[in-house]
């Protein structure tokens, strides 16, 4: 039994305590668990990113850990977890501690008395906070409605002009020749990206800034094809936005994604409750000092989209510390998809227990022909990468080259379809038939994530 006074004493200040009470009232836990011996509790809840914050408390001494960036110890999430455990211990299902909890256990101290702060309020103040009116005062609107719409119109006009400029820029590149574009890609892309940032087309600017490095990674003879693919994709995206300026998917690709909380609060958002498998976590450093951390999920339930992407954008220095799931892990969860005609990006609404080995689900059967599986979705043809689930195939090396530098190819069992691999794969992936392979296809290379072999699942992302 956790004492409210102890939680109160742990809080670093009254603000943290109030914030914790607010979180506690909101509930919003995607997972709440305790160890079999009830010494440990841990939970997950949605923060400002796609991957939920993870927090754990050792109840023996109230030592805690949270993946949020707060410098307060303990943070509001941990305090909220403790409040939840104090007030509703029945909400915590028994479970095996996940790897991130285990890792934390080896690094922390135990046995020392809990570090307590001066009680922020005397005599059961926390109890009164909990019992107080839960109504949260809405924040005052900073902008009057009419002001808001005028500003929105100005912003929309600026954005439209920016997109016109981008189309002109693309046409210029075609006129000047893609050979010179590829040579000067860094400079040319930086110029138009800067213009796009000015009109708040931040996502589009980031995409264009990445283009030079993507071209450089390809062999010289493939760069024109890659440039055509990407410039063509941008044209499609611009045209979609012009036709449907309120299309949230196109807006997201051009300006900025909605906050996860908005998606969670959206009653029309597609929600899929199913068993999911973590295919892998891909970190992509960006030029702006940030990194995209994408957790790719595979739907094992048969209903709804096959894939879901939990996408976080964090400072590159923090990318390694983002709370991530373990590749291969399966779990029950309800997932809310961002509004999109081809749903992909998502947030976790609630998460059930991790699935024990005996309840692991196989990957869904796929009978989609390879060329169709690798095509971008009709509703979002501008997407740079398409997640694919490939049928029976095998990895081989090009005969033209020799040694470890030989290019690696995936080829289907019939020998009808083949695609080159981005990088290489662990040796074991060459020694077994790949009964099914999950990968990302960008029109040039397959980025392998995981595969099923006769011996079981193998992760094809390094370090996972």
């Amino acid at each position: 039994m956790i004492d409210l006074a102890a939680i109160e004493a742990l809080a670093s200040d009254q603000k943290a305590l109030r914030a914790a009470v607010t979180l506690y009232r909101e509930r919003g836990w995607s997972i709440l668990r305790r160890s079999a011996d009830a010494d440990l509790i841990w939970g997950e809840r949605q923060g400002s990113g796609a991957a939920p914050y993870q927090m754990a408390v050792d109840l023996r001494d109230l030592a805690s850990r949270c993946s949020c960036p707060s410098r307060k110890l303990p943070c509001k999430h941990v305090l909220a977890l403790l409040l939840q455990a104090a007030e509703h211990p029945e909400d915590f299902g028994e479970g095996e501690p996940p790897d991130w909890v285990r890792t934390w256990l080896t690094k922390r101290r135990v046995g020392a008395p809990p570090r307590t702060n001066e009680p922020v309020q005397a005599g059961g103040a926390l109890r009164s906070l909990l019992q107080a009116d839960a109504t949260i005062e809405p924040s005052k609107a900073r902008v009057k409605p009419e002001q808001g719409s005028r500003r929105a119109a100005i912003k929309a006009n600026a954005l439209a002009e920016g997109l016109d400029a981008l189309e002109d820029w693309i046409a210029d590149q075609l006129k000047l020749g893609l050979e010179s574009f590829i040579t000067e890609a860094e400079k040319r892309c930086a110029g138009i990206a800067s213009r796009l940032v000015d009109v708040k087309a931040v996502s589009l600017a980031a995409r264009i800034e990445e283009l030079p490095s993507q071209l450089v990674r390809l062999p010289r003879e493939e760069r024109v094809k890659a440039a055509v693919t990407e410039l063509g994709g941008l044209v499609l995206l611009i045209r979609q936005f012009r036709v449907a300026p309120n299309d949230p998917a196109a807006t997201r690709e051009i300006a900025k994604a909605e906050a996860p909380a908005t998606v969670l609060a959206d009653p029309n958002a597609l929600r899929v409750a199913a068993q999911w498998e973590v295919l892998g976590v891909l970190q992509t450093p960006r030029k702006d000092g940030y990194a995209s951390v994408g957790t790719w999920l595979l739907n094992l339930g048969g209903q709804g989209p096959t894939f879901a992407l939990l996408l976080d954008e964090v400072p590159a220095s923090r990318a390694r510390n983002v709370a991530i799931m373990t590749a291969g892990e399966q779990f029950e969860a309800e997932i809310a998809f961002y509004p999109d005609a081809a749903p992909l990006r998502a947030v976790i609404v609630s998460r059930g227990a991790g699935v024990p080995p005996e309840a692991l689900q196989p990957w869904p059967e796929t009978d989609v022909p390879t060329d169709r599986a690798m095509a971008p979705p009709a509703a979002a043809p501008w997407r740079r990468e398409t997640p694919v689930l490939l049928k029976d195939g095998r990895l081989g090396r090009s005969k033209r080259q020799s040694g470890p530098d030989a290019s690696v190819w995936w080829r289907d069992a019939s020998g009808q379809a083949a695609a080159e691999i981005d990088g290489t794969a662990p040796p074991i992936a060459f020694g077994l038939p790949l009964l099914a392979t999950a990968a990302l296809w960008d029109g040039h290379r397959l980025k392998l994530m995981a595969a099923h072999t006769p011996l079981g699942r193998v992760s094809l992302i390094e370090d996972q």
Binding site: D99, V101, V235, R397, P404, W409, I428, G443, L455
Partner: protein, 516 residues
């Protein structure tokens, strides 16, 4: 279906059309218009009223889509690796894999521990799942069953496989591979390796002959030489290469078989060395022999004694003192002379007598001379049953680490009595270190030192899993939880793996019995 893909572009644009457009865009489209080309299926898609600039943009969008969905069917000729061959032992059961995977992640930089882990699996009748671990192409100290995978991975990674050495293949193996193959055979069948060496040595070039001797020295050391090895090395005194002669001489000297030395000289040296010591009972009642060094008047006398100690064998030295080698070791007064102690340790390491090694092992523990490398080398000369005794002796010392204890046991001995073992000084000290580590945070005790201590404890926890018998692994976990480790602490993984393997083995045994 919302995610129905667009396949239309490939219908509208042929491969030739895409290639033609790409070629034009590569050099620049300003010189001519796309519309000057004859009518084509995509003309309709572009529409009639659009401007040329707009048509160009639509066309690039169309071509980009066509490129993306045109999955390459014309892949280059590919080479496919053969399937990974199955091993004789079944792969690790799913119940044990999570622990095995975590252990691999934690200790992936310490190959020695990974090898111990694999030997432990082999002892329990399992092989690693190749999805978790594969050997490197040049691994040569793994259980023999992994040879199949070593060969396979060498082939898969384009590295020449290490062949199984025999008389018929010796001369066809490339020099670097020959050394690896010889090393592997030496570890597994030393007599066969020496026989092959004798047969083919003379045909090898001088540099390769020297390298073969280096390999022999690094793998065969510090154990005794067999008579065949001694004969072979002695015969190299007439080798054409000075380097080879020097190597052979050094190997022989290390084992107190001085090349071509006159036995009378050896006896004289032994007697001269013995004269530097007095071996006599400790007292009237205590008849145990004490070996003490006589006072040396000059540093020259000391230098001479040490020189003799390096040349004379343990047996000759003891004989010259008129006592048994074990009596000499038991009566030796440690720590009166570091260099002399080291000379005796070297004599024992090169001795052929397991009893001498065991006696010295115990004496070193008593004298708190806890050089783990020496203790492990001494233990390696003992029979498996004796290694169990040595492990128990080692546990009586609070200064020894469990990692050393595990290496002393050599995987062939484990403790089965938790009560008795847990009261040993080594395990009590281990528990104290665990408790102390849990009570100190990183920042409180200096990051680097703390990390080092924690790392050492991680190794000890792993080693504990190696030295407990499977039937008491559960009880051992309970003990560690009493100390303060949480049930989910990954430091318990080796013990938990042991529990999982035992459970699986018992299930299989029962199933086999039921079937029979």
């Amino acid at each position: 279906m919302p995610d129905e893909p667009v396949l239309e572009p490939t219908r509208l644009l042929s491969r030739e059309s895409i290639d033609g457009l790409s070629q034009r865009w590569t050099i620049g489209a300003s010189s001519g218009s796309t519309f000057s080309t004859p009518a084509s299926p995509w003309r309709e898609w572009l529409g009639e009223t659009v401007s040329n600039a707009d048509a160009e943009l639509r066309l690039v969008a169309l071509a980009g889509q066509a490129e993306r969905i045109a999955v390459r069917t014309a892949a280059p000729d590919l080479i496919f690796t053969a399937d990974l061959p199955p091993l004789a032992a079944p792969p690790l059961p799913d119940t044990g894999r999570p622990y095995f995977q975590r252990l691999l992640r934690r200790f992936r930089l310490d190959q020695n521990l990974v090898i111990q882990l694999l030997w432990r699996l082999e002892t329990e009748g399992f092989a690693a799942n190749p999805l978790d671990w594969l050997p490197s192409p040049d691994a040569d100290d793994l259980p023999e069953m992994y040879d199949l995978w070593i060969d396979w991975i060498a082939h898969a990674t384009g590295v020449d496989a290490v062949p199984t050495l025999s008389a018929s293949v010796w001369s066809s193996v490339a020099p670097p591979l020959l050394l690896k193959a010889f090393a592997r055979l030496l570890r597994r069948d030393r007599a066969a390796a020496i026989a092959l060496l004798q047969e083919h040595f003379a045909d090898e070039p001088a540099q390769q002959r020297a390298r073969l001797l280096e390999t022999l020295g690094s793998i065969a050391a510090p154990g005794p030489l067999s008579s065949a090895e001694t004969d072979f090395l002695t015969g190299l005194s007439k080798d054409r290469s000075e380097k080879v002669r020097d190597h052979a001489e050094r190997l022989l000297q290390r084992r107190r078989c001085s090349n071509g030395a006159d036995p009378r000289d050896s006896a004289a040296d032994a007697q001269e060395l013995a004269d530097c010591f007095i071996a006599r009972p400790r007292g009237w009642l205590d008849k145990r022999i004490r070996v003490t060094r006589r006072a040396e008047p000059t540093s020259e006398a000391k230098r001479r004694r040490l020189e003799l100690a390096r040349r004379v064998s343990l047996e000759d030295f003891a004989q010259a003192l008129g006592i048994e080698p074990v009596t000499l070791i038991d009566g030796w007064q440690f720590e009166f002379d570091g260099a002399g102690d080291k000379a005796l340790i070297d004599q024992v390491l090169q001795s052929t007598e397991p009893e001498a090694c065991i006696a010295l092992f115990r004496r070193l523990l008593e004298a708190m001379r806890l050089d783990p490398a020496v203790l492990v080398q001494l233990a390696q000369n003992a029979a498996p049953a004796q290694r169990g005794e040595l492990m128990r002796d080692a546990l009586e010392n609070s200064q020894i680490t469990l990692r050393s204890v595990a290496e002393i046991s050599g995987g062939s001995a484990r403790f089965t009595d938790v009560e008795a073992s847990w009261s040993t000084p080594a395990l009590r000290a281990f528990c104290e270190r665990i408790a102390a580590s849990l009570g100190h945070s990183h920042s409180e005790s200096g990051g680097g030192a703390f990390d080092a201590q924690r790392g050492a404890l991680d190794y000890d926890c792993f080693a504990l899993g190696l030295i407990v018998a499977p039937e008491v692994a559960d009880a051992t976990i309970d003990r560690l939880r009493d100390v303060g480790l949480h049930a989910a602490d990954p430091r318990l993984d080796m013990l938990r793996l042991t529990v999982a393997l035992t459970a699986q083995r018992d299930t299989s045994d029962h199933r086999d019995k039921d079937l029979s």
